[in-house]
């Protein structure tokens, strides 16, 4: 039985062209990009071509983009790197209640070491109110971090407005754009956040590679020490194949993909709403990441439903992959006002550019059968 993969927010299947690049670069550019011999120079050229490609898509100078091991490291570097660098000036950070674990956990880590953190609430659709962020700023605030697209419910935050508000007040602004990169515009030039986290494996690139954009003039401390790579902000031999694969994945991601994905996502939502009474859409209808659908099924265990879908070949999830296995209700669904029961009955379906109409229909039919099975077993 072929599967229908609708867990692209957790990770995507690498594009076949990316796999070709990984194999070729691992072989042909195997030198250390810091070595000055021919193999090293060839690897350095691969790295810098990819850097220009990824930075160009974000609309930033290539030299301001540093490669990391992924989005989690990029988020940790942004938060901890800024906090340490500016500790003498202030020890207050602002974030939202619905951030990814790789933002919330470093914040909690800093809190245990004397920093204070304000977590601004969100409304019923997951939106942060820029007014709440502004009113939470203090004289000792050094960083605001609000992700662009929410990983669980797809809400696209007003990052341009947040970036402008922070800049006006002299506070650095970071945004985790791992879910949205190449799929939803983040702004350009001065409208961009001061720091932006990216990764490759959410856009059909390889796992284990990400990037952090750092605006010129923003100073931060490295997390990893022991080398001068990546402008001395990220020690360690660069993952040349991964970096090349990241560049290739960005090159393959078309701006035209997003509207088509959104049409299929909306079609699946409409089929669900028309056929299943009492379903709740988690997150907004508009200003939502094109790939994301998250719905609560009344009177139904999400865990059981997920298992039934899996049995029928449909891969979905109950929320962020980094929180899977948790017995606690989703912090995102709780923050938008869902009850523990509603949160427990929620599933996330996340599409990609490879999802076709037949898969959408197949997933819908499998969902109907799975719901029936779960309710009969209850």
């Amino acid at each position: 039985m072929s599967s229908i993969y609708l867990d692209n927010a957790a990770t995507t299947r690498p594009d076949p062209c990316v796999l070709d690049v990984l194999r070729r670069v691992a072989d042909e550019a195997h030198g250390n990009p810091a070595s000055t011999h021919a193999e090293g120079r060839a690897a350095a050229l691969v790295v810098e071509r990819a850097r220009a490609q990824v930075a160009g898509r974000l609309g930033v100078p290539a030299e301001r983009l540093l490669f990391t091991s992924g989005g989690t490291e990029a988020n940790n570097l942004a938060l901890l790197g800024v906090a340490w660098e500016h500790a003498a000036r202030g020890r207050h950070l602002v974030t939202s209640a619905v951030e990814h674990a790789s933002v919330l956990a470093p914040c909690a880590w800093l809190e245990r070491r004397g920093w204070s953190v304000t977590r601004v609430p969100v409304d019923g659709q997951g939106f942060v109110d820029p007014g709440d962020v502004v009113s939470s700023l203090r004289a000792d605030t050094v960083l605001v971090s609000v992700g662009h697209a929410n990983a669980e419910i797809g809400t696209l935050q007003p990052v341009t407005e947040l970036a402008a508000a922070c800049r006006e007040r002299g506070v650095l602004f970071h945004s985790d754009a791992c879910q949205s990169f190449t799929r939803a515009p983040l702004g350009d030039g001065a409208a961009l956040p001061d720091l932006v986290s990216l990764n490759a494996h959410k856009l059909h690139g390889p796992k284990g590679i990400g990037a952090l954009y750092v605006r010129a003039g923003v100073v931060l401390q490295p997390l990893l020490h022991g080398g001068e790579q990546e402008g001395a902000l990220r020690a360690g031999t660069p993952n040349t194949p991964g970096i090349a694969g990241f560049g290739a994945a960005v090159g393959l991601a078309s701006d035209d993909d997003s509207p088509a994905i959104a049409v299929r996502r909306d079609a699946l939502l409409q089929r669900i709403l028309d056929a299943i009474p009492g379903v709740l859409l988690n997150g907004p209808r508009e200003r939502r990441l094109c790939t994301n659908l998250n719905v609560s099924f009344p009177g139904c265990s999400g865990r059981a439903l997920l298992a039934e879908l899996d049995r029928r070949g449909v891969r979905a999830s109950r929320g962020s992959a980094c929180s899977s296995g948790s017995t606690l209700p989703s912090h995102v669904l709780t923050a938008i006002g869902r009850t523990p029961v509603q949160a427990d009955g929620s599933l996330r379906f996340s599409l990609s550019r490879f999802t076709d109409d037949a898969e959408v229909e197949g997933a819908f039919q499998a969902l109907l059968a799975s719901l029936d099975a779960v309710r009969r077993a209850a």
């Binding site: 990009p33 810091a34 070595s35 000055t36 090293g40 120079r41 350095a44 050229l45 790295v47 810098e48 071509r49 850097r51 220009a52 290539a62 030299e63 001068e228 402008g231």
Partner: protein, 80 residues
């Protein structure tokens, strides 16, 4: 007397180690039309000893180089 052309683009490679400096210069030149001029600012020492040769190997032409203390400014015409 030949006039020094005005650059079409500028790349500051001060503080960038070898061979990343050559690689960044090559990538930037790849993005320019043939004949366009890139101004490159480089550190003295190994960078200025290696970057011009690396660019020449790929068909680009260093048309001017000037030293200002520990910094060099190159003008490089992009090859075809």
């Amino acid at each position: 007397m030949t006039r020094t052309p005005l650059p079409d683009d500028r790349l500051d490679l001060r503080g960038v180690k070898c061979p990343a400096n050559s690689a960044r210069a090559l990538v930037r030149l790849e993005g320019l039309d043939a004949g366009a001029v890139l101004e490159i600012v480089l550190d003295d020492g190994e960078p200025v000893e290696t970057v011009p040769a690396a660019l020449a190997d790929e068909g680009h032409v260093v048309i001017d180089r000037r030293r200002d203390g520990a910094t060099w400014t190159l003008l490089v015409r992009a090859g075809g």
